[in-house]
């Protein structure tokens, strides 16, 4: 049987082009994804520095916005002891503050004969931290008198111009009471409106001679004690605090660098980020992996779908082939009796007088061929019925001995060269549908005869009980079935191609048997050895005929 080759070829081309296309897409996708990832990593390298800066200066901002203004809460009442306590808490929370200079400031109308607001220092204390302890040092002179004089001048100016009817504005407060120098912040507690009024009077030379207290605190910062919070260790191999002017000249550009400047008291410094190129490449690869994995997964998924489609096509092709086969066979099958009938018909129609013998002969031929056709039709019909479960079981008690003997007798008459024998163990009767069971017997016996070489046409049937089943075994010495074919022989329209089934076989027999047995809730199996013989074993659930008869 030949299947047109063109179908196959077209299919293959399609599959090949499909595979090629998705493979190409896969490769392209990988390239694009890698490029994209690499760009992304580079972008992140230059953009995430802001976040690192934010995280790094967070304690500084917290210190600047909360802890420094806390001095004002003391309203100028800080003294050496409470300032020491304050310093201790600052040192503890903000390790980048290395030194605190506390000025106990006095405000009076005339200080040292100076005109305007007299702002003088009563005492100076310096606090440092050593081994977790705060060391305080009383000083006679400040290390840097400038810190104080700048602040004093600012205050003097502020008092001179302040609008005492309103709360001073935020920016005026910032300009006056903060003095931000590189690595140094000086802060003077912000007087209340009441005090500003009084200071104003003092400045004008009026008011009552009294001494007001203010607190000035200078914080010395160490930029190196700022903890760098590298939130992206995968991007930045090394982050360091460098002077703003730092710019190393590197011969090979093995490192990628970026920087961001600090603000406020730390504005002389910047955060300097550097990473070796291969560090970023590694990161790119690292990030690329899952993307590549995803692409690969999609690729495999597509291939899988392709394969499934291919398989589906293949099955359809086989089905097509089978049906083609079937039609071929059946037309052949139908053709033989029809042509015989045709010949018989034309002979009968002929002018010659028919002898009695001839007439009988033709009649017999017509009868036989009609039977053959009928049988074929029945077979086909019952098979479709069976497949659609359109028939019902008509069970009755069967005397096995009589039943088997009947078939053996029939076949002995039909095929005189067929040697048949049987044996029944421990069982007399069986409750089942005799017609269906008979069909199974007929098919299997017929096959045994058909697929045996003329000298070895033998069949041995034996029946026994096995637990709750009844086993019918049909053992012949036929040509046998190759192992790889044993699974296929029960399929519809399947025929092993050999010399024995050139004629009169449709490839339905065993499939029909299997359908029947399954219909009766049983099973059929085959044991076979090529050139030795086959044994078909039918097992059916055993129902004793006696019990039900009674």
């Amino acid at each position: 049987m030949k299947v047109p080759q063109s179908i196959h070829r077209k299919n293959f081309k399609l599959i090949a082009s499909f595979l090629f296309l998705i493979s190409a897409t896969f490769v392209v996708a990988l390239f694009i994804a890698y490029d994209f990832t690499s760009n992304y990593v580079e972008n992140e390298f230059s953009s995430k520095k802001i976040y690192v800066l934010e995280q790094t200066v967070k304690p500084y901002n917290d210190f600047f916005q909360n802890r420094i203004p806390e001095i004002t809460f003391y309203q100028g009442y800080l003294d050496s002891t409470s300032a020491a306590k304050y310093s201790k808490s600052v040192f503890k929370d903000y390790p980048f503050v290395t030194q605190i200079v506390f000025y106990d400031v006095q405000i009076s109308s005339n200080y040292l004969g100076k005109k305007g607001l007299g702002v003088g220092i009563q005492s100076i204390y310096e606090y440092k931290q050593r081994d977790g302890e705060v060391i305080s040092l009383k000083k006679q002179q400040p290390d840097n008198y400038n810190d104080f004089s700048v602040m004093a001048d600012k205050l003097d100016h502020f008092i001179a111009v302040a609008d005492t009817t309103h709360e001073p504005a935020q920016d005026a407060k910032f300009k006056t009471f903060y003095d931000i120098q590189p690595e140094k912040i000086s802060y003077l507690n912000i007087p209340r409106r009441e005090e500003i009024k009084r200071y104003r009077e003092l400045q004008k030379g009026g008011g009552r001679s009294s001494v007001y207290k203010q607190n000035m605190v200078t914080f010395i910062l160490d930029q190196n004690a700022i903890k760098i919070k590298n939130a992206y260790p995968e991007l930045y191999h090394n982050i360091s605090i460098r002077p703003v002017v730092y710019d190393p000249l590197e011969n090979e550009s093995a490192n990628i660098t970026t920087e961001v400047a600090f603000s406020g008291a730390l504005s002389n410094y910047k955060l300097y980020f550097s990473s070796p190129k291969n560090y970023l490449t590694a990161e790119t690869n690292h990030r690329f992996m899952p993307i590549a994995g995803m692409v690969l997964l999609i690729y495999f998924f597509l291939v899988l779908i392709g394969w499934l489609i291919y398989r589906n096509l293949n099955i359809n092709l086989k089905l097509f082939k089978l049906q083609y086969d079937f039609i071929n066979n059946f037309t052949h099958e139908f053709k033989t009796p029809i042509s015989v009938i045709k010949i018989a018909g034309s002979n009968l129609k002929g002018d010659n007088e028919l002898s009695e013998r001839q007439r009988k002969h033709y009649g017999k031929i017509l009868d036989e061929e009609a039977d053959k056709l009928n049988e074929l039709m029945n077979k086909l019909l019952s098979f479709t019925q069976l497949e659609n479960k359109a028939i019902s079981l008509k069970k009755e008690s069967i005397n096995l001995n009589d039943f088997v003997r009947g078939y053996i007798e029939t076949f002995r008459i039909k095929y005189p060269d067929f040697r048949l024998d049987y044996r029944i163990y421990e069982v007399d009767s069986f409750y089942s549908d005799p017609i269906l069971l008979g069909s199974v017997f007929q098919n299997l016996i017929e096959n045994a005869y058909k697929y045996s070489s003329p000298m070895r046409r033998e069949l041995y049937i034996y029946i026994r009980l096995d637990k709750r089943s009844i086993i019918f075994s049909f053992k012949d010495k036929g040509i046998g079935i190759a192992k790889e074919e044993t699974n296929n022989i029960f399929k519809k329209f399947y025929r092993i191609e050999n010399q024995y089934n050139q004629n009169g076989s449709v490839g339905l027999g065993l499939a029909f048997c299997k359908e029947l047995v399954n219909f009766m809730a049983g099973d059929i199996a085959v044991k076979s050895q090529i050139n030795e013989g086959s044994e078909f074993i039918v097992s059916l659930p055993y129902e004793s005929g006696n019990n039900l008869n009674n």
């Binding site: 909360n66 203004p69 806390e70 004002t72 809460f73 003391y74 309203q75 100028g76 009442y77 800080l78 003294d79 002891t81 409470s82 306590k85 009817t165 709360e167 001073p168 407060k173 912000i190 209340r192 009441e194 005090e195 009024k197 009084r198 009552r208 001679s209 009294s210 001494v211 007001y212 207290k213």
Partner: protein, 630 residues
């Protein structure tokens, strides 16, 4: 779709359920509680021909004058910007009144001629205060005494002001230490009190030209409060607690400074009020208050008068708040815990009592709640007095409670009408006021027990009081709010941070958030007063740790429960930038805080609109935090 009859039916059911729920207690609108006084500040003219009072006009208190001869009632002023703050009559039938222009930080003084109803601005002072003092000299009817801090904002001088000419003559320049002046019956100041903060000295001078000489000296824990000169014995009446715990009415000799005799004393409480008639030169009655004010009469005719009035106005607490020079006509003020106050005119001639007006007629006393004096023992065995107002129509158990610690701390809560208390009680909250240690009126020992106890035993007293209410099953321990102004606001904030489980929310008005700032209010040149402050509150230098520990501004991280804060931006004692910083920090820590800063208000909200808004917000806030939550 519901058809019409069934809709009506369902709405009736809903209505019925709703009214059952409210237990027949009507929700009195916020505006009825907190509207401006309808008619208040009744005064009689010295000649007894007129009655004057304040009544709102365009939302501001304006002067109205009623003639007692023809019954004519006229509006005398039409101020639309700020209310009349204070006023009195002169003997020449002029009215002098003052006005506080909050937005400009200015005080103005006006005269009002009663016959022509013309007003004239005779004095203005920017960035200072004018206090109407008194007028007692009938011989100089146009002269009134005022106090002003014009010369130095830190202290007041006494001036003589001619209301006709506007001429201003300094009468008594304050050397800087005079804190109180005690005019005699003729209007001469012959007794003053000076204070260096710690020690108070009573000074006496024989006449206006003689120098003051000290009479007696006392520590600030003690108190001598001169009332008036006695007519004999070179003595003056005074309230004194020297050598005794509870302040008593005594006579002190101004020559020797010795206490001559005790006129009257109470065993349970200080004598806090003395009624003195400068016309008849005699003490009429004294009053002390442990639970409710108890009066003792020293003049029999006044006692008779009082008894007579009491027969006509039973169950009401009565005070004489005004009289004419001849003492034939009296203005009587009657109040209860459920009545904001009613003014009556009593005429001796025909013994007639006429109702003049109500402070607030919108609230019906029958709908309000009784204020019961209660007392409890603290953990260290001290007896603390307080007042408990239970909501009407609810069983006295498992109630949501609003605790209201008073401001001060050197003040007290008294029995009487309090619109905040009544408002909260009407909304279904039990209101608990506590006269914690340090409160005035319960004797020297009780008062000084509160020294340096802010955030210490004072707070414990409040906590003990709340626990006492919980143990008595009156309070629902899950629904306790704390609400206070000034020091009471501090108690609320501190209570929230130290007992976060006790209070479910807090409301703070003009809250004290930083004791350093509080102490700073005393300028450094008042060294002695600083000393007193240091002794009562703590020394900001040596007690810095303690003050830091209790000041809420340093501990924004400890307050977690919802907070409602009100503040007037023109409050002189407040440090607004500090409060802003405080609120900002609280918000940063995730505390649910609602903050209202009203630009043109001082401590107490004068604008009716702002007051309504404030109490509306308080109602909503309590509703959200006390009712919804389990």
């Amino acid at each position: 779709m519901l058809n019409r009859p069934s809709l009506l039916f369902y709405s009736l059911i809903v209505l019925a359920l709703f009214s059952c729920n409210r237990l027949q207690v009507r929700k009195i609108p916020v505006s009825d509680f907190f509207k401006n006084d309808e008619k208040s500040f009744y005064r009689l003219s010295p000649d007894g021909k007129y009655v004057s009072y304040l009544k709102p006009y365009k939302g501001k208190q304006n002067l109205f004058i009623k003639s007692l001869i023809d019954g004519n009632e006229r509006m005398a002023t039409s101020l639309a910007d700020y209310s009349v703050r204070d006023y009195f009559w002169t003997f020449s039938n002029q009215i002098v009144f003052s006005q506080d222009i909050i937005a400009d930080d200015e005080f103005r003084l006006f005269t009002l001629d009663v016959s022509s109803l013309k007003t004239r601005n005779i004095l203005s002072l920017e960035k200072g205060r004018i206090v109407l003092f008194y007028n007692r000299n009938k011989l100089e009817p146009d002269m009134v005494m005022i106090r002003m801090n014009k010369r130095d904002p830190a202290y007041f001088d006494v001036y003589k002001l001619n209301v006709k000419t506007g001429e201003l003559v300094p009468y008594l320049i304050n050397p800087g230490n005079i804190t109180e002046w005690f005019p005699d019956d003729d209007g001469k100041i012959r007794l003053v009190k000076t204070s260096d903060g710690v020690d108070e000295t009573i000074l006496y001078r024989a006449d206006e030209n003689a120098p003051f000489k000290p009479v007696s000296k006392s520590n600030f824990k003690d108190k001598i409060q001169p009332i008036a000169f006695t007519q004999v014995d070179s003595c003056f009446y005074a309230l004194s607690n020297i050598n005794r715990d509870k302040t008593a009415l005594v006579e002190i000799n101004y020559e020797t400074g010795k206490e001559q005799k005790v006129i009257y004393s109470c065993d349970k409480a200080d004598i806090t009020r003395v009624s003195y008639s400068s016309n008849k030169h005699r003490i009429e009655s004294v009053a002390c208050e442990e639970e409710k004010e108890q009066k003792h009469f020293l003049a029999s005719d006044i006692e008779q008068l009082h008894n007579l009035l009491t027969r006509q106005l039973p169950t009401q607490a009565l005070n004489v708040v005004g009289r004419d020079s001849a003492e034939n006509k009296f203005i009587v003020f009657a109040y209860t815990d459920r009545n904001p106050g009613t003014y009556y005119l009593y005429e001796k001639v025909n013994q007639k009592l006429t109702k003049l007006g109500d402070i607030n007629s919108s609230v019906n006393p029958d709908e309000l709640c009784a204020m019961q004096p209660v007392s409890f023992k603290t953990r260290d065995g001290l007896l603390i007095n307080g007042y408990l107002t239970l909501p009407k129509g609810a069983a006295a158990n498992d109630l949501p409670v609003v605790v209201m610690p008073h401001d001060g701390p050197w003040r007290r809560d008294s029995w009487g009408y309090n619109e905040e208390v009544q408002f909260l009680a009407n909304r279904g909250y039990a209101v608990f006021q506590i006269n914690y240690r340090g409160s005035m009126g319960y004797g020297k020992a009780f008062y000084s027990a509160g020294f340096k106890q802010a955030g210490g035993k004072i707070q414990d007293d409040i906590t003990d009081g709340v626990n006492w209410l919980i143990n008595k099953k009156i309070a629902d321990p899950n629904k306790i709010a704390i609400f206070g102004g000034g020091f009471g606001g501090f108690s609320a904030l501190y209570g929230m941070s130290t007992h976060p489980k006790l209070y479910s929310c807090a409301i703070v008005q003009y809250g004290l958030i930083n004791f350093f700032t509080y102490i700073k209010e005393v300028p450094p040149y008042l060294q002695p007063r600083l000393q007193m402050m240091y002794e009562m509150m703590g020394n900001p230098t040596t007690d810095a740790e303690q003050l830091r520990a209790i000041s809420p501004v340093f501990h924004t991280d400890k307050i977690k429960a919802p907070l409602l804060i009100f503040q007037g931006a023109k409050d002189e004692t407040a440090n607004i930038s500090e409060l802003n910083q405080f609120v900002r920090e609280l918000k940063k820590h995730g505390t649910p805080v609602t903050y209202y800063l009203k630009p043109n208000e001082r401590k107490y909200f004068r604008s009716e609109h702002n007051r309504m808004e404030m109490y509306g917000e308080i109602e909503k806030f309590l509703e959200e935090n006390m009712r919804v939550k389990p």
